[in-house]
């Protein structure tokens, strides 16, 4: 069970400054946010507003300048990179705009990497990989390389890779940006379905207004601050 109510991710007073030479650029200026199980939340806002920075910090990939980040009730500040890595592996699944699949591996092998990192190998791994590929509608593409897949298929492989480790939280950075509208809707529909069926929290950074209808909640960020946080219309 997550601590702090139902929050899987709890952010309080989060700030992040980037330094370029002698210039300090504030990317986040005191953000409070809770992400609960079973919800699909969109982080929206103009370019440079800080939404990707917030996603990176929530995923324990980037360290905040100040503030608190709790994952399932566990405070992350002060954790070493090694422990943060373990935290990412245990609780998060990541989906990237450019898919970030391994070019030289097949779809099944790409998905299997997640399990390999967790030390799950052999027959169990094979079965889980096939189940994950089936869940994203690609049971017949297991042996294909990314170069032989369409953009939508690649993103579905990336989703399978994120899901196969059974993470509680899925963080997606512009997952539809490289896709046409049909494939974009398919992908977001898939993420929403998985959130509902499996009780995952899904946080999506996006510019794409077409996918708002799939979200439970839309968080607007501007100039490093949350300007609006409410249910999707």
């Amino acid at each position: 069970m997550a601590g702090n109510g139902d929050s899987l991710v709890r952010v309080r007073g989060l700030t992040k400054d980037f330094h370029t030479g002698h210039v300090t650029v504030p990317a986040l200026r005191g953000v409070d946010l809770d992400i609960r199980a079973g919800e699909v939340a969109l982080l929206m806002g103009p370019s440079g507003s800080g939404k990707t920075t917030l996603l990176s910090i929530m995923g324990c990939i980037l360290s905040p300048t100040a503030g608190s980040l709790r994952i399932k009730g566990r405070e992350t500040s002060g954790l070493t990179e090694k422990k943060l890595g373990v935290l990412r592996l245990e609780h998060f699944g990541f989906i990237f705009q450019n898919y970030n699949l391994f070019r030289t591996l097949t779809a099944a092998e790409n998905v299997q990497v997640t399990l390999d990192l967790k030390g799950i190998r052999g027959e169990e791994a094979r079965a889980r990989v096939l189940t994950a590929l089936a869940a994203v509608g690609l049971p017949d593409k297991a042996g294909m390389r990314p170069e032989d897949l369409s953009g939508g298929q690649k993103q579905r492989v990336a989703i399978a890779r994120a899901l196969v480790g059974e993470p509680e939280i899925i963080l997606a950075d512009e997952p539809t940006a490289a896709l046409d509208s049909t494939n974009g809707r398919l992908i977001i529909g898939l993420l929403r379905q998985l959130a509902l069926e499996r009780g995952r929290a899904v946080v999506i950074v996006t510019h794409d207004p077409r996918i708002q209808e799939f979200a439970d909640r839309i968080v607007h960020i501007e100039d490093g601050l949350i300007t609006r946080d409410g249910e999707s219309a």
Partner: protein, 376 residues
């Protein structure tokens, strides 16, 4: 999975793989040939010493190697004979002389004169003719490797050594001289004639120790009893000669440096191509880091690539090296590439490639996992 990723990454870019393997093969061949030359030369410098049964060698004071030494007087031979523990002692000559080829032209040769009765210092790898034929005056045995150099086409052929008539009565096989002067084996009496030494002169006394006596003890006893000579056990004299030719003349260092260069150049090529492969797959390594992969996982991938490159490159490299060694043998070059050296070279290749991968490992260690998020 790490090995699978490594192999796929390595095979992904065929041109880069070809460059990597070229680097490994180049290094293997260069190191194999240079170290083979080193071992071959080293072995050649002391082959007569090591193939002689003598336990102890007595030479003039200050001798630095087998090939160049001052003559001893015969009385030194008699003094050695009188030392307790000497089972047998024989006179031995090693001296340069001029060889006039039948069709004209001169070559320098190294005359090796030994006692026919005891056989101490005799040639050890006869290919044609016989050692007994040396009983006849003015007869010699040469190695078949040097037939062309010395203008000898057949047994029984007449030549001239130091303006004296000589006849070739035997060929050895594979007795190479480190110097450019081939060994010419003959009886002690003939050697005196060919080298213009006086009848009471010799260059070494070869000694057999009594059974059970440590050659080092005999060496000490002879050194104490006979003045103005240097005394060595067989191993000591062989080592001294090897050391002289390999390191005091610079010949050995040149070979060692060339072998090291092969290692460095091969290592640099492999390091560069592995680094390029790593940079090419940097987003994938970044993704692994973001997913929570430990450093060790990433290191395994890169090191597996390095070891795979070593494996794939080593075998053609060592095959090419052995072919070159065979070709060189026909040309008279002394390259010795044993199976032990081949195995050692395999491990050296793996070490070279793994070391070369450290540059890539260092780069991967510095990957910021945030690179996977556009705009982070």
């Amino acid at each position: 999975m790490t090995i699978r990723i490594a192999l796929r990454n390595l095979m992904h870019d065929r041109i880069r793989l070809a460059v990597t393997l070229t680097g490994v093969i180049f290094a293997v061949v260069l190191i194999a040939v240079q170290s083979g030359l080193f071992v071959g030369f080293t072995t050649a410098t002391s082959c007569v010493i090591e193939n002689t049964e003598a336990d102890v060698w007595v030479a003039s004071r200050g001798v630095r190697n087998f090939d160049v030494t001052h003559p001893l007087r015969e009385r030194k031979y008699h003094q050695v004979l009188s030392v307790p523990g000497v089972a047998r002692a024989e006179k031995f000559i090693v001296q340069f002389a001029n060889w006039r080829k039948p069709e004209g032209g001169m070559e320098s040769v190294e005359v090796v004169g030994f006692d026919l009765a005891s056989g101490l210092g005799r040639p050890w790898a006869m290919a044609a003719g016989s050692i007994e034929a040396l009983e006849v005056r003015d007869t010699v045995i040469i190695d078949e490797l040097y037939q062309r150099k010395l203008g000898v086409t057949e047994l029984g052929q007449a030549v001239e050594i130091s303006d004296r008539r000589a006849r070739v009565v035997g060929f050895t096989r594979g007795i190479r001289s480190f110097t450019t002067s081939p060994y010419v084996f003959t009886s002690f009496a003939n050697a005196l004639e060919f080298t213009h030494l006086k009848p009471d002169q010799l260059t070494y006394v070869l000694v057999l120790a009594e059974p059970g006596l440590d050659p080092r003890e005999l060496r000490a006893a002879i050194a104490a009893a006979v003045d103005d000579v240097d005394v060595f056990t067989r191993e000591e004299f062989a080592h001294k000669t090897k050391w002289y030719w390999m390191f005091t003349t610079g010949a050995g260092m040149a070979l060692v440096i060339a072998a090291c260069l092969g290692l460095v150049v091969g290592g640099v090529v492999v390091a560069q191509t592995l680094y390029a492969t790593t940079m090419d797959h940097l987003p994938e390594f970044g993704t692994l880091r973001a997913m929570g992969a430990k450093n060790g996982y990433l290191y395994k991938i890169i090191m597996a690539q390095a070891v795979a490159a070593a494996f794939i490159g080593y075998f053609p490299g060592i095959i090419i090296s052995h072919v070159l060694v065979k070709l060189a043998e026909k040309g008279g070059a002394s390259i010795l590439l044993t199976w032990r050296m081949s195995v050692g070279l395999f491990f050296l290749t793996v070490i070279m490639c793994v070391t070369a991968s450290f540059v890539s490992i260092k780069r991967v260690t510095r990957i910021d996992p945030a690179m996977v998020f556009k705009g982070a």
